[in-house]
Symmetry: C2
Subunit: 357 residues, 2 copies
């Protein structure tokens, strides 16, 4: 098979012609046209030399070749081939099945689709909803105003501050492929010291979350400032900025468009959100953790179902997909807690009738 990269223009032209032809069509298709190509990922990131070779050959996806052995071969959009099976000399852990969360988030098309969908929704929201409200002078911040509770949220008008999108970094904008690979291969649990070394040395072993680069580039072109609010350490600000650049998500400048956790600071993000909101009107937020939207979601010792209900059973429910944008992450985070009895409500427990006999 001959790996080929799909030209950006082709994707847009075709999809607009065949599928999206309505009023919101241009809106929805725009982020795809925006980036350097179609949605990319680490496995879709050829080296400079490979990229050059692909451009010279430039076969079209779907094109059928007759291979030297006479067989018919169809060109795909893949840019790298999967590793050969049965790599010799690899430790046993490498060949074995990865944990389900890792398989899902970093390996599945399902998770990639969820991410693309979230970034499409973000872009669509900025373009349609914020575009409309901007014209009417009715833009409000999506950061909970001081004194809000989850049951009694309040949002304030923005005045004339410039509009910004605030998002988390890890597993929201960047996939930490290198770190997760190392942890999975060794079967180790999370270690803050190892993570600190990862922040310092892993800037080129990452990928953009599918859809992120295109949506952020499109938002910047429309005049929105993109601001990252992360619990990565201020001590590795330069390396984090480099990782964001590497993934096509930059620029990110410390204390302006990049806010990180200072030595000894708590892990909550409300304080940094407040600082950002002094200068910007935050019209959209994106994250993979509830704490990326408000620290109120992380009340200490909150029972599992109370925390879940605070998302779906309060006045905040309508914000998901309309101001607040969630990215998938079943691999780590504050949402991963509880035993079976904490998670399944008593009236929804079933016992296999065969077991009862």
């Amino acid at each position: 098979m001959i790996p080929a990269r799909l030209p950006a223009g082709l994707a847009i032209a075709a999809i607009v012609a065949t599928s999206l032809s309505g009023c919101a069509a241009a809106v929805i298709a725009a982020p795809l046209a925006a980036g350097a190509g179609v949605y990319k990922s680490a496995q879709d990131r050829p080296s400079k030399r490979e990229r050059k070779r692909a451009q010279q050959a430039a076969p079209k996806p779907g094109q059928v070749y007759t291979a030297p052995d006479g067989s018919k071969v169809q060109v795909t959009t893949l840019t790298t081939l999967p590793p050969p099976s049965g790599v010799s000399g690899a430790p046993a852990a490498r060949g074995s099945t990865a944990p389900a969360g890792i398989q899902y988030l970093y390996g599945s098309g399902e998770a990639a689709a969820l991410s693309i969908q979230a970034y499409q929704a973000l872009w669509n929201y900025l373009k349609v909803e914020i575009g409309y409200r901007r014209d009417k002078g009715q833009v409000r911040s999506v950061v909970l105003a001081p004194g809000s509770t989850l049951d009694n949220p309040r949002f304030e008008p923005c005045g004339k501050r410039p509009m910004a999108v605030v998002l988390d970094v890890d597993e929201t904008a960047l996939l930490n492929l290198g770190y997760e690979y190392d942890e999975a291969v060794r079967g180790r649990a999370y270690d803050p010291a190892r993570w600190a070394r990862w922040e310092q040395t892993g800037a080129d072993k990452i990928a953009a979350v599918p859809g992120a680069a295109e949506a952020l580039a499109a938002a910047r072109r429309e005049g929105f400032t993109i601001i990252f609010n992360s619990n990565r350490s201020v001590a590795s600000a330069a390396q984090t900025a480099a990782a964001l650049e590497q993934a096509g998500l930059g620029p990110a400048d410390l204390f302006d468009t990049l806010w990180l956790r200072g030595e000894g600071e708590p892990s909550g993000k409300d304080a940094r959100r407040a600082k950002i909101a002094q200068r910007y009107c935050i019209v959209a937020m994106a994250g993979d953790q509830l704490g990326d939207f408000s620290d109120l979601f992380n009340a200490p010792d909150a029972p599992v179902l109370a925390r879940r209900n605070s998302v779906e059973g309060t006045l905040l429910a309508p914000l998901w997909g309309a101001g607040w944008f969630m990215l998938p992450n079943p691999v780590y985070g504050t949402g991963l807690k509880g035993g079976v009895d904490d998670i399944f409500p008593p009236d929804a427990r079933w016992t296999d009738p065969e077991e009862k006999k």
Copy 2:
């Protein structure tokens, strides 16, 4: 604490007044007004008697009471309290930590937010995009036309067929709480015979996926037919229809708005999609598996990264969130496969420098 149910009107009035005041505001808020209340789940599903009591008392969320002991108590929107900790006599497995995927999908607010977001996007798409195209007579099916490939997709105009939304059942419309509880508590792997018994006897141990009931009700009111396409067995059609009713997602009528897998039929869904498309114009699809959109995604023996790339690196990428709507499911499915070496591309592997020494 006094559990109280939030009246439906309140949620909408408040959110429209405080947050959503633009052109798409009515659109986005509508599904919330649609259902019997705010987003509900099993833990948010009181018995009839409980519901009656709550209506009589009807305290408002956020309201502060002075409790009999003199302490101040604020009313929440929760309708049930979490189970007490340290349940005595329970087997060890019940108290222990649940698998991460279970914690995420059934317990976390993060997954609930992802689901609400997906259904908001579906409703928004039907209202804005399809509404516009319907006026112009430019509606196309989102089912891949015969002869399509993932690299060369084609979509056909609908003519005058009535418009429908086709969606999967399990972990797309319904959360199978009872079954997953039983499996987690026993530490068992999936067993088709046990699943068959679940289909037959578990209709009341489920919950609607957050956001589903409201979005489907709103779509029906706008004239869209809601059709379920599931690999549940035709033999338990009545019980599956009852489960959908119970969750507030019905009606579902076999061979019209409910399509199930017949005895000995393959697990692919394209054949049933084709039958549905003979009578309806399928303008949106929702699922938690790529096979809910096209069987082409499940080519046998496709390498992990090739399958993932078929989602994000092809002409199909712009459909996620705009015609095709993905729901989260890191617990089971065809996307959960592969070892570490299949998932992480060679150029994104990192080794902790401390390990190298």
